[in-house]
Symmetry: C3
Subunit: 131 residues, 3 copies
C-alpha cells in the first residue's frame, strides 16, 4: 500500500491528485490491473471529475454547500457535521483501471481529494491490484 500526503489550504478544497497517483503507479512499475484510492478520513472524500475548467470543481463545491449547509440543526457538536455528510455523499474510495502502466481515465477526468473540513494535513491510500 502506498500512502500519499495531501496538504489542504482551505476548509473546503478539491485537490487534484491524479499526478501523484500516476507517479506511484510508474514508481511501482505497475503494469495492469486496478488502482484503489482510499481516504482514511471521515470529513474528506475522493471523486473523479473534470480537470480542464476549474469552475466545474467550484460548482460542485457550491452545490454541495447548498445541499448540506454548514449550519443546520445538527447534533454533532464539533461544527463539522456538513463535512461528514458530504464525505458519505461523495464517498471515501474509488478505483481506477490501469493498462500498460497507464491510468485509463477519460479525456477530461481528474482524481480529486475532497477536503470538507480543512485546512489539514491529510493522507490518501493507494493500493495496486494486478489482474
Amino acid at each position: 500500500m502506498i500512502e500519499l500526503s495531501v496538504k489542504t489550504r482551505a476548509r473546503v478544497e478539491f485537490v487534484d491528485i491524479t499526478a501523484q497517483i500516476a507517479r506511484s503507479i510508474s514508481e511501482q512499475k505497475f503494469r495492469t490491473g486496478v488502482c484503489v484510492v482510499y481516504v482514511p478520513h471521515t470529513t474528506a472524500a475522493v471523486t473523479i471529475n473534470e480537470n480542464a475548467d476549474p469552475s466545474v470543481v467550484t460548482d460542485i463545491i457550491a452545490a454541495l454547500d447548498k445541499l448540506v449547509p454548514r449550519d443546520w440543526q445538527y447534533r454533532h457538536s464539533e461544527g463539522n457535521s456538513d463535512a461528514h455528510i458530504k464525505a458519505s455523499l461523495v464517498g471515501s474510495s474509488l478505483y481506477l483501471i490501469v493498462e500498460n502502466q497507464k491510468l485509463q481515465l477519460g479525456t477530461w477526468q481528474g482524481v480529486y481529494f475532497c477536503e470538507f473540513d480543512g485546512p489539514r494535513h491529510r493522507r490518501c491510500f493507494v493500493k495496486l491490484l494486478p489482474g
Copy 2:
C-alpha cells in the same frame, strides 16, 4: 479491459447495462472474482438500483434534478454543471462480485449507466479481476 458502448437518447437517461456486463463475463469465461465497471466521462455515472419497476429510475432522475437543478448560479459556462455535480454524487465506478460466472446481484438489482448530459455515444469500461 472490455469497452462497452452505450448510446443515450435523452439529456438525462438511465440505461440498464446489466445484460451487456453479463455477456462480457460469459464471453471471457470469467469464473470468480470482481467485475469493475468504470465510466470514463465527467457528466455520466453508474449506479445500481431496481430494474423491476421503471418508475424507480424515473423517481431517482426527478429527485436528482430537484437536488441539482439545471439552472443555478453556476460558474462553468457549458450549461452542464448539474451533470458534473450529479456525476460526483452518484459516482463514476462500481464493482460487482462474480461467482461461477454469475453476477452476484440482488433479486431486484440492475446496473444503470447514468447519462446526465446526453444524448451522446458513451463508453463504459469493464475490468475483470480474478480472486
Copy 3:
C-alpha cells in the same frame, strides 16, 4: 464470498458492521489485499463514517431525509422511493484495504450498513481479493 446477515430495527438505521467484516477477514486468515463490501439490496447502502460520536450518523440520516423526503411527487407506488434514491446517493458497495490481516481504516472510521426501508433482515456480501 462471505455473506453477512444484518438485522435492522427501524425504517432508517445505520448499523456498524466493522467488527463483522474484521471477523470474516481473520476467520479467512486473509493477509493482504482488498475487501469488497457489497449490498445486494436496492433500498439499502453501505458507507464509511465516524464511529466515535453516534450523533454523526444521526446527522447524516437527518440530512438525507431533508434532501430526499419520504413523501414527494414520486411515481413508484411502494412508498419507498426515497429509500431507492438514498441508496443510489450513498452507494451499494465499497472496499477496504487490508494489510497484515488488519483493515486499513482511519482512526475514526467505521463501516455502516445503511438501512433506508427497514426494519428487515438484510444481507451483505464480503469478497476478499488478495494482492
